[in-house]
């Protein structure tokens, strides 16, 4: 994206964050100014095109899946302690038995898995989802849909940034998974900070989706979940239908960038150091005079309890570097010791 405008006052305020300091002279920080080149001022929702993201529940679900597709972006892991199929009649009480049927683990670090019916206790924006169900009831036999999301930012594709959403059907009992559909959602970059942390947006009817790209970060979501962003991206939705304003906020702990040669000094299972925590507010509002809803993104410093919570949930090196590289490092360290 070509930047010809000076960073706005708001953009300069972003430079209170240490991570901004490297990028001021280069590309600037504040993509809203870039978005707003056509229309000076804050970006409005009108500048973010509405797209249609099919709902997972709306996909025509097959009754069963006979075999798995090739080239799945995740591996299917059947827990060792899962009840055998021939013992499915075993019911310990009238409510059945809560059973961990499957784990789905992304094969690439930049793929996020979403399972619409995942329980609230499990983080949704990560590289692994767990499928639970009640044995003795039919749930385990139902095919469910799982969504794999990834950002496509390669400019060589010539199509601009996009969120690529691949839907899959998964049969929990059989452990089979099958590709269902792909949707490519064009994104508008609404903010950018150096070293890969950027914020994109797309709209659905009545909803604004904010997509964060922050590999290796930890996050406190608007509903107080504190997670490592295993897959490096997160999507937050704001309901903008029928209201004159909506807002949400969350916090990110951004990782320290460590030179490759320095990585070896860390234990592979130690946590990635947090360089900086950011508090981010996203809001949409419209007064009588605003011709369209105004999008505001604000960056600030979070409080100490929030910073501490983020620090505690930074990912471990093996999660960031991959298990193979982590093992290498551990072996080297063992030899050195």
């Amino acid at each position: 994206m070509t930047r010809t405008t000076q960073p706005s006052r708001r953009a300069r305020s972003l430079c209170t964050l240490a991570l901004c300091t490297l990028s001021v002279g280069a590309v600037g920080l504040w993509a809203p100014a870039a978005v707003a080149e056509a229309a000076p001022g804050r970006p409005t929702l009108a500048q973010i095109p509405i797209v249609s993201l099919p709902r997972q529940e709306a996909l025509p679900t097959p009754e069963k899946i006979e075999e798995s597709s090739e080239d799945l972006p995740f591996e299917v892991i059947i827990p060792e302690d899962r009840p055998k199929q021939d013992k499915k009649k075993h019911v310990v009480n009238s409510y059945g038995e809560y059973t961990h049927w499957l784990s789905l683990r992304a094969l690439k670090s930049d793929v996020c898995l979403r399972y619409g019916n995942a329980s609230g206790s499990r983080p949704q924006d990560r590289d692994q989802v767990e499928l639970y169900g009640y044995s003795g009831y039919s749930y385990a036999d139902q095919v469910v849909s799982v969504r794999a999301e990834r950002l496509e930012l390669d400019p060589s594709a010539g199509q601009g940034p996009a969120l690529v959403v691949d839907d899959y059907f998964v049969a929990p009992r059989a452990g089979h998974a099958r590709f269902a559909a792909t949707t490519r959602i064009p994104l508008v970059k609404v903010a950018e900070v150096n070293r890969g942390f950027a914020i994109y947006a797309f709209r659905e009817p009545g909803r604004l989706n904010v997509v964060l790209s922050a590999p290796g970060a930890a996050m406190i979501t608007p509903n107080f979940a504190v997670n490592a962003l295993g897959c490096g991206i997160s999507r937050i939705t704001i309901d903008t239908a029928g209201r004159s304003g909506a807002a949400t906020s969350f916090a990110l702990g951004l990782p320290e960038v460590v030179a490759p040669e320095k990585v070896q000094d860390f234990r592979a299972y130690g946590q990635v150091p947090m360089e900086r925590a950011i508090r981010i507010s996203v809001s949409v509002s419209q007064t009588s005079r605003d011709p369209a809803p105004v999008l505001s993104l604000t960056f600030g410093d979070p409080s100490r309890p929030v910073r501490d919570a983020l620090k505690d949930r930074m990912p471990r090196w093996n999660e960031v570097l991959g298990q193979e590289r982590a093992n290498e490092i551990e072996q080297k360290l063992a030899k050195r010791d």
Binding site: G245, A246, R279, S281, V284, S285, S296
Partner: protein, 652 residues
């Protein structure tokens, strides 16, 4: 129109029958032309003028002359207007004022209008060509009691004044200085802003969970009330065999002192405030006032200027996950006492000065919920009540009343750490005019009274001033361990009114205060701090001008009050209008754990609505109508006598 009293000032002309009083003729400069009006400029020397048309008054304002920036400061402690060279932070002049100022407002011709909250008037001052000389008084304009805020209508056609104790908004023509509108407002009006088209004014209220919307186009107009608390939710509840629809989860707005207006085309008025969860009044709490995890939450209401509506997102009371994770930590750093607000000329940043935490916080002025959109904050000296921004240098000037210090922060300067955000602060402590200084113990007591996050006072971080706003009350009834209790007024009601508390459980004020701290989960103050706090609350007094001349109706009310048949004075006796005894007047409410209550003093009763220990009556008249036979006998009174009785009570 209220009666305009005649006030003479110094040797000035005595303009009885109008609202303007002429003051001393200037001596330092020969007038270039005869002034058209006593309030007009009297000399043609070059004096500082504001950067741009100021629309809203404040305790601090900037002006410019020949490239130098001048700061004017209204210091309420010493009743002095200071002139400061803002670039060098050097004090240039001190102009004594007749009484405590609240706000000043610059006219584009350089005149300085100062609201004297302690004097029921606005003084018009003119700087001399020599800025080291005190300003010269041109005239003074009478206002209702306790003028607290000033604003211009577009083009400086009208001066708009709100009066706290006087519960009024008044306007004055800036050529004739004749009073135009006088609109009665709900209690505790504070800051005022005028819409871009000049057709309406928005007024903040320190209590009552509302903004007033005042049409400025008609005479004898009435204010409309705009709710700025959270919208109530209708919950279904079972009561025995019946299903009831009950309004619940409603939070009240409080601490509405400041207003700021977006300068751009978005038409937003921003109102920093606090959302209050008073608890379930029918269920006594285990301790404290309200059993909510977060009984008070900082908020900034966003008002659509044209539509006269509040953006619902801005009064959302959900806990901000990026602030406290929902664990309900003490709010040691939250802005629970916002006092001043400013939007930068580009309309991007809202700056809010917060007492108690002594910080200035920068929010995104265009956010749908600015309290979630914090950008930066700066520690400043105690008591930030004035803000002014130099739009060219991006320097923010902060007047801290409690420390009497003017400080300057570079808003563009990066901050190293949010927990140590005061680097780069440049300060000037103002001189202290002889005989006008505040006593040391009173000054310390004031700081303690407003401290947010002092765990000696409360476990949840709230300050004394959170409920006893300016030593008065918040008009809110709280759920307490003893049942529902309305916040009592402290100002002017503490001497000779023992015992203390609604049930009269505190024989000594100091014991009662420590008991209150303990109930709030606080550890209690050390003796010297407690003494300072007592000195401060004892020093609180109603504003000058609150004494009202006795009309015939008030005289009649006096007779009714003291008549044996009505029996009011049986319990409300003596100078402080209390017998210091507990009585059972069959006033116990659901949730009360006792039936006898201390006779409250009726001093300043007009300023303390609603009434009764649980705040069940919104007005004195409503109370008199409902309590005959329980508390005196008023059923036999004629409507005129009841009216007279209320009129008398309002003079107490």
């Amino acid at each position: 129109m209220r009666k305009a009293w005649c006030v003479g000032v110094g040797l000035g002309l005595f303009a009885c029958g109008s609202t303007v009083t002429r003051s001393n003729e200037p001596t330092s400069a020969k007038p270039a032309a005869l002034p058209a009006h006593p309030c007009a400029r009297a000399h043609a020397q070059k004096i500082p003028v504001p950067f741009r048309a100021n629309q809203i008054g404040g305790a601090l304002a900037l002006a410019r002359r020949d490239g130098s920036t001048i700061a004017y400061i209204a210091d309420e402690d010493t009743a002095t207007l200071y002139t400061v060279d803002a670039a060098s932070l050097k004090e240039l002049a001190a102009t004594p004022l007749a009484s405590k100022p609240s706000q000043l407002l610059l006219h584009s011709d350089g005149r300085v209008f100062v609201a004297l909250a302690g004097g029921a008037r606005v003084e018009v001052l003119e700087p001399a060509g020599n800025l080291a000389a005190p300003l010269q008084e041109r005239c003074s304009i009478e206002t209702p009691v306790e003028p607290v805020a000033l604003a211009w209508t577009p083009g400086e056609q009208q001066l708009v004044v709100t009066s706290g104790w006087g519960h009024a908004l008044t306007t004055y023509d800036t050529k004739s200085f004749e009073r135009g509108l006088e609109v009665e407002l709900p209690r505790d009006p504070r800051s005022v802003v005028v819409s871009d088209d000049g057709t309406k004014a928005y007024v903040a209220h320190a209590t009552g969970s509302q903004l007033s919307l005042v049409p400025l186009t008609r005479t004898a107009s009435r204010a409309a009330s705009l709710w700025v608390g959270t919208p109530g939710k209708l919950d279904t509840q079972l009561d025995g065999t019946r299903t009831l629809l009950k309004l619940s989860a409603q939070k009240f707005a409080s601490q509405g002192f400041a207003l700021a207006k977006h300068p751009g085309t978005s038409g937003r008025v921003l109102a920093p405030q606090v959302l209050v969860d008073r608890g379930d009044l029918e269920r006594p709490t285990s301790r404290g006032y309200s059993d909510s995890r977060v009984p008070q939450m900082a908020s900034v209401a966003v008002v659509d200027e044209d539509a006269g509506t509040v953006l619902p997102s801005s009064v959302d009371d959900s806990i901000d996950a990026a602030v406290n994770l929902g664990w309900g930590e003490p709010q040691v750093k939250e802005c629970l006492l916002p006092r001043v607000a400013l939007v930068d000329p580009k309309g991007e940043s809202l700056f809010v000065g917060c007492l108690g935490v002594d910080q200035v916080i920068e929010f995104d002025a265009m956010s749908a919920d600015p309290r979630r959109a914090e950008v930066k904050r700066w520690h400043v000296p105690a008591g930030p009540t004035g803000l002014a921004l130099d739009p060219e240098s991006h320097k923010l000037f902060v007047w801290s009343q409690f420390d009497r210090v003017l400080s300057m922060v570079e808003t563009m300067r990066p901050q190293a750490d949010v927990d140590d955000p005061d680097s780069g602060l440049v300060q000037l402590a103002l001189s202290r005019p002889a005989g006008r200084a505040m006593r040391g113990d009173v000054a310390l007591g004031r700081k303690l009274f407003h401290q947010v996050g002092n765990l000696e006072i409360s476990a949840d971080g709230r300050a004394c001033a959170s409920c006893h706003i300016e030593g008065r009350d918040d008009g809110i009834t709280w759920a307490t361990p003893d049942g529902p209790r309305q916040t009592p007024v402290l100002m002017g009601r503490l001497t000779g009114t023992a015992p203390f508390g609604w049930t009269g459980s505190g024989e000594k004020l100091s014991d009662h205060m420590q008991k209150t701290f303990a109930r709030l989960g606080g550890k209690g103050l050390e003796q010297d701090e407690l003494s300072a706090m007592l000195a401060y609350v004892a020093s609180l007094a109603p504003p000058a001008g609150a004494d009202v001349q006795r009309s015939a109706e008030v005289e009649r009310g006096f007779q009714v009050f003291h008549a044996a048949e009505t029996g009011c004075a049986t319990c409300h006796s003596g100078d402080t209008l209390t017998d210091g005894q507990r009585h059972n007047i069959r006033s116990a409410a659901a949730g009360d754990n006792g039936k006898t209550f201390d006779t409250p003093s009726l001093l300043h009763v007009k300023a303390s609505a609603p009434y009764f220990h649980d705040g069940r009556f919104q007005s004195l008249r409503e109370m008199l109508d409902a309590t005959s036979g329980m508390m005196g006998e008023t059923a036999q009174l004629s409507a005129a006598d009841k009216h007279a009785l209320v009129a008398y009570l309002e003079t107490l």
